[in-house]
Symmetry: D2
Subunit: 311 residues, 4 copies
Amino acid sequence: MAAMAKALPVVAEREHPLPSIGFLGLGIMGTAMARNLVKAGYDVTVWNRTTSKCDALVSEGAKRGASPMQTAGACDITFAMLADPAGAIEVACGEDGAVKGLGPGKGYVDVSTVDGDTSKAIYKAVQAKGAEFLEAPVSGSKKPAEDGTLIFLTAGDKSLYDKVVPFLDVMGKSRFYLGEVGNGAAMKLVVNMIMGSMMASFSEGLVLGKKVGLDPATIVEVVGQGAIAAPMFAMKGPSMVKGSYPPAFPLKHQQKDLRLALAMAEDVAQPTPVAASVNDIYKRAKAEGLGDQDFSAIIEAYLLDPKGLNH
Amino acid sequence: MAAMAKALPVVAEREHPLPSIGFLGLGIMGTAMARNLVKAGYDVTVWNRTTSKCDALVSEGAKRGASPMQTAGACDITFAMLADPAGAIEVACGEDGAVKGLGPGKGYVDVSTVDGDTSKAIYKAVQAKGAEFLEAPVSGSKKPAEDGTLIFLTAGDKSLYDKVVPFLDVMGKSRFYLGEVGNGAAMKLVVNMIMGSMMASFSEGLVLGKKVGLDPATIVEVVGQGAIAAPMFAMKGPSMVKGSYPPAFPLKHQQKDLRLALAMAEDVAQPTPVAASVNDIYKRAKAEGLGDQDFSAIIEAYLLDPKGLNH
Amino acid sequence: MAAMAKALPVVAEREHPLPSIGFLGLGIMGTAMARNLVKAGYDVTVWNRTTSKCDALVSEGAKRGASPMQTAGACDITFAMLADPAGAIEVACGEDGAVKGLGPGKGYVDVSTVDGDTSKAIYKAVQAKGAEFLEAPVSGSKKPAEDGTLIFLTAGDKSLYDKVVPFLDVMGKSRFYLGEVGNGAAMKLVVNMIMGSMMASFSEGLVLGKKVGLDPATIVEVVGQGAIAAPMFAMKGPSMVKGSYPPAFPLKHQQKDLRLALAMAEDVAQPTPVAASVNDIYKRAKAEGLGDQDFSAIIEAYLLDPKGLNH
Amino acid sequence: MAAMAKALPVVAEREHPLPSIGFLGLGIMGTAMARNLVKAGYDVTVWNRTTSKCDALVSEGAKRGASPMQTAGACDITFAMLADPAGAIEVACGEDGAVKGLGPGKGYVDVSTVDGDTSKAIYKAVQAKGAEFLEAPVSGSKKPAEDGTLIFLTAGDKSLYDKVVPFLDVMGKSRFYLGEVGNGAAMKLVVNMIMGSMMASFSEGLVLGKKVGLDPATIVEVVGQGAIAAPMFAMKGPSMVKGSYPPAFPLKHQQKDLRLALAMAEDVAQPTPVAASVNDIYKRAKAEGLGDQDFSAIIEAYLLDPKGLNH
């Protein structure tokens, strides 16, 4: 396992023709990532189940793919960004799945956050076609995706990793190659497990502080100056205080990642009492109908006064 | 409640004579804080139960106080930094306590981390003598204390706050005046509750990652680049990976703060399931004999392999 | 420590005159217990802060006490049943407290559920007057109190224990003498901690079952036939299914006992993660306004549908 | 859903010939259950992967099956008792699986504890062969299996339920027909979730009591006399106090059931904070190597003194 500093992406003046890029899945994340590839001047073909989501990117210079299979068949390297394991499997291995379009010399890079088993299943299918595979889940949500400051947690075929470095560097600010397939998924789940717990703890502090008479905005400020200051608190805190949770990373996805992390802990019999407790709060929030809001809406699961923190 | 940006401390060239300062309690924190006052050229009298702990500061220019009472009697403003509520009460209100030396025109600033009830009890005793009181618990441990980059969470007599600003600015990088006595203690407990939870979650992630085959040092690196990067993780992570926990903030104190925060939540019937779960892990760590190590030793309570994370 | 089987109470035909009994505190429990003593033919003097609560018992044959002090002064042995540590301390050691009426040859039996420190403080005050003390918290709520089937968990002066056996046997079905003062309180807290956790787990099962399509009444029936059948489930289950929680043991008291048990666990650094989690749910229930209902109302804290389990 | 009182099994004097019975899976539970059928005079064919486990029953009168397929083919009704979902699927639907031996007029009764999805998958396979299916997980472990006092939680084809009543009544003391397939599995998981939580809470109480100076054996006695008395505490408590955990229901199976119950709760977004916390303790116990001991060994996960409760 080794971390590598970000190399400056150099797109211009190459000896070899630029590889063509496919991009499957244009949700919040996928759209922003594909847009950065298009902006960087790459030859990008996009596909999404709801095809209207391709329109903007096509108007910006992307080609329109007919299906995952057709897209993967037409491109040298295909990226996929799906919402969950089921989506990732379907787009890779389904009826018109990308795998059917793959073959020797081609590469498939799954940047979705999935569990290791899903990743390994896709790897096997890709390998069977003689193509290369890289799992490359990202750390970072909407804003870093737009700004090209994501962090890639990759694992799988090292030679494909080497080939996609320039693309990763357009979409992200750093990248890690972590060895065998499954390690990228595992790293992502570990990071998101910590993140989900931090957000719950932060919420707990804000709500408790409010209840004993402190100003939540001041708590955000105090937290922002000490050893526990984190960009996430600075970014989400002020809107949480206002009871606003515009979805950058939907709560239901955070809960899914906690669930997958807990399943991973189950497999190795590792106690994770805090994550177990945290997951239950996210479950409560989901049951209260907050699943589609930003995961910072977890604070609502602590508020017994329905008027929220700012009353 | 209002936060104020740090004013640059200007010690030189004053019209009025400098107030004399007392400092009671020379543990890890108190020693570093008092030293910064001495270095800044103030007239500082120090006292500690174990008197030998005064020697170094005396050799650096401080005066030696005979007791809390004598110190408070001899100085204009007296700071106190004790380990827990019992210590804070004893030094302020005990037999030879500081309160006995106070009177009109004098000020008492308790920078210990205690619960609101303790703070209010001391306030009452100080008021009864016609003196002013400020509770001013700090956010930050050994290193910020040494570097003069603590954060002061103050509450109580505003006029005393205004008088001590120059001293707070020598010892800290920012300060908040939070209104009535008890709010400083409450803010400190809220912040330390979040901190304790974050450290437990971080530990949980490191141990789980290790168990599924990731390199803990790489996890620390990945965490350090994203939305959850926090100075605490960067500072403690590398030594935690090595199984080293030199005490900056002892685990037993973190557990005490969690206990006090949970008691505060009890009083207002606020659910805090994550902190409750986190406190239990710290309790386990204490029971395993880790109380005197740094609170980052909480990771040991997750390690079932006695050889630690780095094996 | 030794458990003793219930001796049949024999009230009639004694050589010595019957000792006179005081009873302080006539809540749900105290009233039922005092009534059983009156019914058994004892000479009972009752006192309650709200004096109207004495009326019924006085009409049934009890004498009316003027204050705790007067009652304890007039009786050989005085029982006290208060709601919480503060009440127990006040009635024993306050202005007109029972202790002032005690002296050599008299006994004071506190049957309240309090923490060990409270019990020890009262013991000390009683001892200082030359009287004897027994802490004797009871296991069992309204119904067992009425039926005379409580369980007494006693500790303190053995000779007083021997003297009160006949009275304990009128009010209860079994009794344990557990040694030094504090052990009765500790045993009570341990038992109530298990009870609170069981009720929360049972509620969790009923609500989860309901949500996946099972009939909660059938769950109660299934539970009642296996290894986990407990009188509490049989007694409370059917009314919980109907959303009815007539207060036998108020939820706020169960939460208080969990809090005291957790504080006891803190003192000895014993991990109790389940009780910590359980306490938090009771706290949530209290915050939702369920404190005065029966503790079985904890199930409401799990119900996200405000219509309850029976819809 | 309806509960039915146990009808006395009447095996003798029937108009129709007795149906022949197959029994697949002779672990602790299966052996005891099959033995009761043999003892009752039924025509029983047994099969187990490790064939030597059949020897005792064959010597007592059972026939030896060659494979699940052959056994199901030779018998009118086949029972299966496997350790986990994977085993249940394999024996029913594998290469030589029972389903291959089924056909119209035959019935397959799975008495294993599995999740609803597994149960439904087997149901579908059995239906496809024109045979009938009943899921019938049992509540009760080794002793009730031996004594014929199990509780059957059945769901599926009602006509098969009616046919197997006499056999269920030989093996159990009561039975519930709960409607559609999946409800039996769900009820079993709910009951076992409550059971696992109760055992953890009981352990927590015993260990805490011990640590504050109470005699654990006395705690068991006190618990046994009040509202929370449960057969499980009476049965397991005394051996737990001695540090002995002879496996009736292995800890790893209890943990599996908690995991399945939590997954069920996830599916319906039902908060289950207590079960989440409890599961984590069982996970810790498993990680400490206690998986094959009785689930009452969970108490060991609370003991920080390796010498156990009885030192």
